[in-house]
């Protein structure tokens, strides 16, 4: 009895490992393909699509191209970094402010405000794209000014994404606040010296989410840049390489660019994964 139980367990463990290895292969396959293609030699195999995985000859041609100055890749990369950096900072600050106010303060219209924002969130974002474009244009923040324009739009509406952070604040006992207030501390003081230092995981989570979004924004960003090459971000610039016929032989270059974008973002994500898990789990349960 005991023996058969043990063998059964061994078999089930073995099956589990096989499954995990299979899943891992499926999950990694596209990334492996991406990396391999990025090293395909442009000289001998051109830069178009191929139906094989492993290049016949490896080289750094595609990476060299990206940094050669033939395209503005470095500029696009910098634009994206700048956007991501500022959006991260401002979005984190705003989300913290909104969450604190909604979690700790009781004021007239609080529930109405939350309901209203919830309803607003049900409208699809693309609906307002054209309108936002013209608003930004009035402010001079399109084309050459697209980078600050994109930052402005991202942070202007980010207050609505307070759920996760407010959920976290709700778990910090209110008694702490009460005690501090009895000691004469103002709300602002409590916020800066008590709540914020206690919220490291949620701050990191908010910042991480804010940092990752701009890397994939190709829809609105292409609107705002409006054909001004120097204000593109990587997503706008590089989706062109795949989608339009003007760029022949850019597929491997796309892969190379993709690798350069994915590596730092992925590393950062892996490094802060713990906080991310805490954030999504908390958010999921709180709703």
């Amino acid at each position: 009895m005991n023996k058969s139980y043990k063998t059964k367990r061994k078999i089930s463990t073995a099956i589990s490992y096989v499954l995990l290895v299979l899943i891992s292969i499926i999950w990694l396959f596209p990334f492996v393909g991406l990396v391999l293609q990025s090293f395909r030699s442009y000289k001998t195999e051109f830069g178009g699509m191929v139906d094989y995985l492993v290049p016949h000859s490896f080289s750094l041609d595609n990476y060299r191209f990206l940094f050669s100055g033939e395209t503005n890749f470095i500029l696009w990369y910098r634009n994206t970094l700048v956007i991501a950096f500022f959006v991260t900072i401002f979005q984190t600050i705003i989300v913290l402010c909104v969450s604190y106010a909604l979690s700790r303060m009781r004021f007239k219209g609080r529930t109405i405000l939350m309901r209203f924002w919830l309803v607003l969130g049900m409208f699809p974002g693309f609906l307002t794209m054209i309108c936002l474009y013209f608003l930004l244009k009035m402010l001079g923040l399109t084309q050459a000014g697209a980078v600050p324009g994109l930052i402005l739009v991202s942070i202007a509406s980010c207050g609505m994404g307070y759920y996760v952070c407010k959920g976290y604040f709700d778990t910090i006992p209110k008694a702490l606040d009460e005690a501090a207030r009895i000691d004469g501390a103002t709300r602002a003081r409590i916020f800066f010296t008590m709540t914020i230092p206690m919220s490291k995981p949620i701050i990191i989570y908010t910042a991480l989410v804010a940092f990752m979004a701009p890397w994939c924004d190709y829809v609105f960003a292409s609107y705002v840049a409006f054909g001004h090459d120097k204000s593109y971000n990587v997503a706008v610039a590089m989706t062109r390489w795949v989608w339009t016929n003007d760029y022949q032989g850019y597929f491997t270059r796309f892969c190379a660019g993709g690798v350069l974008i994915a590596v730092p973002v992925t590393l950062l994500f892996m490094f802060l994964q713990k906080y991310y898990v805490e954030g999504v789990t908390g958010g999921a349960v709180k709703g």
């Binding site: 393909g33 094989y52 405000l113 699809p124 608003l135 892996m270 349960v285 709703g287």
Partner: protein
């Protein structure tokens, strides 16, 4: 819960009218009982507070009033005055020169902004009256008014919420509320490629566009709309629940005691969250192309004779999208489930095992109910998120394949939101895009409302708070 909802609604409506009545009463009482300072404040905002020494509040009110009139006469009025027609002066050619006429777009946009400004100033006017009333009553009781310093400092204590929320609320108002109201109004105009500002004017057409949406004849898009809507719902259902259960399964697999390198497995899976989707999904799109990697190898190895039309066959395209979405979706669910699974007390499983329950039985009677209970709200947000999951669809198929039997350039894998996008960007058909946008909102709102009230975890805890 449900039966009280109707009652509550009635109460809400009643109290709404009550408070409106209260507001008018307040205004009247304040005017009749107020001194000359208060009476003057009805015209010049904040005059009363300033004269009573409340310079900070008074000045703020006065400044807002000044701003309003500067805006209105300097800028807003020229647009607001034309909002009923959206402009009448057409663009002219003077020799080789082009003289642009009215810009319907700007008239509508700034007309709406001006209406908001008027509402805002009415609210401020009322606040101004209330402030006067409050001060007068305090003085009558012989109390002293708070000093300017106290008023200022309250912004960091009692009124800290106003300080915190001022900027975010303004931002949301200008960059979310205003555009949404604008686009809702566009649904009632004929703003499309033939009526494009600044060269051409557009104007109000009433419910014309909505009629088009529900007309099922040759010219209407009703049939296509129903088809796209149906696929949107089917997609959201499968994308949400397949990912949910598979993610749960993978999480349980990794959570098994015997499995080592837990962190490694998880890290491999979350790659799909970390890598920006436009990189990973565009590569996957190419991979599954008719002439792509997968078909190439399958043919080379002799498994198939001719390529599998992953993206070009309507049914297959939809299935492939759902499958690829699993690749993206499982890791999220796995992360969430991993944490939650550990919360289930181990002794529950122990006692079940003693009772001789099989793994499947334990899953069904312990794990699943717990997970469903805890992650109910998450499932709902996932579902509404998937209704609007633009990236996956657009990066993979752009809504294709199109068909002769679908109107307005819709494709078989189009969601409402990708269809809306194509109308806006490729076709500048803003009027129909606006109508579709409103429909997306209606669908999302209805589903949210219905499901939200059914969630067990919502019934127990009080919703939001």
């Amino acid at each position: 819960m449900k039966h009280s909802a109707a009652k509550r609604k009635k109460n809400v409506i009643a109290s709404f009218f009550e408070s409106i009545g209260q507001i008018f009463k307040n205004i009247g009482v304040t005017f009749v009982e107020g001194d000359i300072k208060t009476k003057l404040s009805f015209l010049i905002f904040g005059l009363g507070p300033i004269l009573r020494g409340q310079v900070l509040i008074g000045a703020a009110l006065l400044l807002l009033e000044a701003l309003f009139f500067c805006y209105m006469f300097g800028f807003g009025w020229q647009y607001l005055s034309k909002i009923t027609t959206l402009g009448t002066v057409a663009t002219q050619k003077v020799g080789r020169k082009t003289v642009y006429g009215d810009n319907s777009f700007l008239i509508l946009l700034f007309g709406v902004l001006s209406i908001f400004a008027i509402i805002a100033i009415l609210v401020i006017w009322y606040l101004n009256i209330q402030e006067n009333r409050k001060e007068e009553l305090l003085l009558k009781e012989g109390k002293r008014l708070p000093s300017n310093r106290t008023v200022f400092l309250s912004l960091f204590d009692k009124n800290f919420d106003k300080t915190l929320l001022a900027l975010p609320v303004t931002g949301i108002f200008v960059f979310t509320v205003l555009p949404i109201v604008f686009m809702i109004l566009v649904a009632f105009t004929n703003y499309d490629k033939n009526h494009q500002s600044p060269t051409n004017l557009f104007t109000w057409v009433g419910l014309e566009n909505f009629k088009n949406l529900v007309s099922f004849g040759k010219t209407g898009i009703g049939g296509t709309f129903v088809q796209v809507l149906a696929w949107t719902l089917v997609w959201a259902f499968f994308a949400t629940f397949i990912d949910y259960f598979l993610g749960l399964a993978v999480a349980m697999l990794i959570n098994k005691k015997e499995i080592k390198f837990k962190k490694l497995w998880r890290t491999i899976l979350v790659m799909t969250i970390a890598v920006p989707q436009f990189v990973s999904l565009l590569y996957v799109m190419k991979m599954f192309a008719n002439d792509g990697l997968i078909n190439g190898y399958l043919i080379k190895w002799g498994i198939i004779d001719s390529y599998i039309p992953f993206w070009t066959d309507p049914m297959l395209a939809r299935i492939t999208i759902i499958v690829v979405n699993i690749w993206i979706g499982i890791p999220y669910m796995m992360l969430i489930a991993t944490g939650l699974l550990m919360n289930i007390p181990e002794d529950l499983y122990e006692s079940a095992r003693i009772d001789g329950a099989s793994g499947w039985q334990m899953f069904r009677s312990i794990t699943l109910p717990y997970m469903l209970f805890v992650t109910g709200p998450f499932l709902l947000t996932q579902f509404t998120g998937n209704l609007n999951n633009f990236n996956v669809i657009y990066l993979l198929t752009q809504g294709k394949p199109q068909s002769m039997s679908l109107a307005e350039k819709a494709g078989y894998s189009d969601l409402l939101v990708t269809w809306l996008y194509k109308m806006t960007v490729n076709d500048t058909n803003y009027k129909m895009a606006a109508v579709i946008g409103i429909m997306v909102f209606v669908v999302t709102a209805v589903i949210t409302l219905v499901v939200y009230n059914m969630l067990p975890s919502v019934k127990d805890e009080e919703g939001f708070q």
